[in-house]
């Protein structure tokens, strides 16, 4: 075990996987000489050379498309889209090719590809640069969607992504890059997809989060315990596809209340999917309607206060929980 930041854990995962499997190469904007916008790939060019760590032009659609083609050619590429905001330019390749080729070709073509991207708001970069689109990618059958919240999960899930025969959308919240935590150094350490993590046990309410919002959920649970004597169970989904609904349902049947926290917009979002599945599978156990805490229904603004108002906070989570206990 070593204590490291999430960005370092991600780099360790890439290193170990590249050492293990020659078919893995990395491509992306400024990932080589510069070491990546969030320093995840720092040092990898020096260690593995240009053949395996490629700087690319600014051309997201081609970057992803080349990843798909190289995967069809027998490699296992990792392409980095600098931030999730720019993945809109690559959406056609991701959705129309990566996600569907296996099914459309009757199983002939599979696309073992890892697409990493940084996501999330909160840095005053305004509306074009602050998206949280985990739920958008989870909408498409054929994609796996992974969104770690801790350094250990980041490492184990990223290593696991390279053992997958499908395209994995690997989403890293920018607020998590600097988080420190214990990370196993065993090169065989993997975190399985579709296994949610019960971060904190509780009896009165279940708070579900993923990616950045797990941390709001945890802080909210602490506040609830200290100030309200409410015992909250916190679940980190870790992967949205596959989705470990069993863990959520088990928890809700115990606590009888569920709050979902996400950075993304509520309307048409992933929280709605969770709420629907809870309703379908645990309706009789619910003591209150499922609550959703999410981004306000607006593009994210630049001004600090406005952005703060727009994004969900732990206070919003606490308020949502308290609302469930009011009669």
């Amino acid at each position: 075990m070593a204590i490291m930041r999430m960005r370092d854990a991600l780099r360790e995962a890439l290193r170990e996987e590249m050492l293990r499997d020659e078919r893995i190469f990395l491509m992306g904007e400024d990932i080589g000489l510069y070491g990546g916008s969030y320093a995840v790939t720092k040092g990898l060019l020096e260690e593995f050379g240009e053949e395996r760590v490629r700087d690319t032009p600014i051309a997201e659609s081609a970057i992803v498309g080349i990843g798909i083609g190289a995967a069809m050619g027998g490699l296992h590429p990792m392409v980095e889209i600098m931030t999730i905001n720019f993945s809109f330019l690559a959406l056609d390749q991701i959705v129309n090719n990566a996600a569907k080729l296996l099914h459309m070709s009757n199983g002939q073509i599979n696309v073992p590809l890892v697409i990493r991207m940084a996501s999330g708001g909160g840095s005053q970069l305004a509306a074009t640069h602050s998206h949280s689109l985990e739920g958008l990618y989870a909408h498409f059958p054929g994609l796996k969607v992974v969104c770690p919240s801790t350094p250990a999960d980041a490492k184990g899930l990223l290593k696991r992504a390279f053992r997958d025969q499908n395209t994995v959308i690997f989403i890293e919240h920018t607020a998590n890059y600097g988080l420190r935590g214990e990370v196993p150094d065993d090169p065989d350490f993997l975190v399985e997809f579709g296994v949610a993590n019960v971060v904190r046990e509780g009896t009165d309410v279940t708070i579900v989060g993923y990616s950045g919002s797990v941390h709001q959920a945890i802080r909210a649970a602490e506040l609830l315990e200290q100030q309200e004597e409410i015992s909250a169970e916190v679940i980190d989904l870790r992967t949205l596809r596959p989705l470990d609904m069993d863990t959520v349902i088990r928890s809700v049947k115990k606590t009888n209340r569920a709050v979902i926290v996400e950075d993304a917009w509520k309307f048409g979002g992933f929280g709605g999917e969770l709420a629907a599945q809870i309703m379908e599978r645990a309706f009789d156990w619910l003591d209150a309607p499922v609550a959703r805490v999410a981004c306000k229904d607006v593009p994210l603004p630049y001004n600090r206060n406005l952005e703060f108002h727009a994004l969900p906070s732990e206070e919003d989570v606490v308020e949502a929980v308290l609302g469930m206990f009011k009669e």
């Binding site: 000489l33 032009p57 330019l89 005053q124 305004a126 306000k296 593009p299 630049y302 001004n303 406005l306």
Partner: protein
Amino acid sequence: MPLSAETLRDLHRRMLRIRLFEEEAGRLSEAGRIPGALHLYVGEEAVAAGVAAHLGPGDQVTSTHRGHGHLVAVGGDFRQMFAELFGRATGYCRGKGGSMHIADMDLGMLGANGIVGGGPPIAVGAAFSNKYRKTQNVTACFFGDGASNEGSFHEAANMAGLYRLPLIFVCENNGFGEFTRQDRHQAIRDIADRAAGYGFPGIVVDGMDAVAVYEAAGEAIARARRGEGPTLLECKTYRFFDHVGVRGMGVVYRSDDEVRAWRERDPITLLERRLAELGILDEAGAAAVREAIQAEVREAVAFAEASPFPDPAALTEDVYAS
């Protein structure tokens, strides 16, 4: 035909306005008083100034993430610009857009753009509207060497050529897309060559020479106004500062010697030298222009800092037009 003293003074003033605005924005950002990401235009002033000097009412500009220079060049208001950078209610976008998204529709400035390559298709659409409405107006589309690798640029250039639209593509080739040198992001040297693939002229110009940019842009814009279609004007230039913020020297992706060599050809110094030789503006004259703009900058910063933050209600306004 030699340029008139008035034109040369105008170019000088536009460039100096950009320089002094950007230097102050850089200082404020380094002091932690401006949040977010500032992409500063210092070193590239001749490009925006030389093009904007030909634009008038009804003409449009599309900009980039490095957009302050374009807006200042077409007459952007320092007060509203600084207020936007400070996230204030008096800013161009009421503090909702920030540096990467400032727009001024009254000046035909259709917006800075946080997405690389976001501008060219919009510029083609604006030019399309000019032709459709049978105006004499033109659209200037600023974009970088890095942006010239995005599909959006190529799709837009093809349609601009096809429809012979009144448009000028202005490529600010500053040699880098973020930290990647041009020879590591494209196999060609002259981005102007790309115009040939879309059926219109591509011209290379020294982007540190305001007069050269002015003259080349003048011809291209006249061509566009005559209905003869677009031109791609590639301006070879350099950003003196870093991709984001100020530093610029002592970085890994380029040498200090290279920066120094380009700074030797500072576009403002070059023009001031020329103005002095021609007896149009001596050192004292240049200093007076500088001081007047500096005072305007100071006043604008004070205005911006004294301005209120936007009301929380601003958050939910303007999601839809009514």
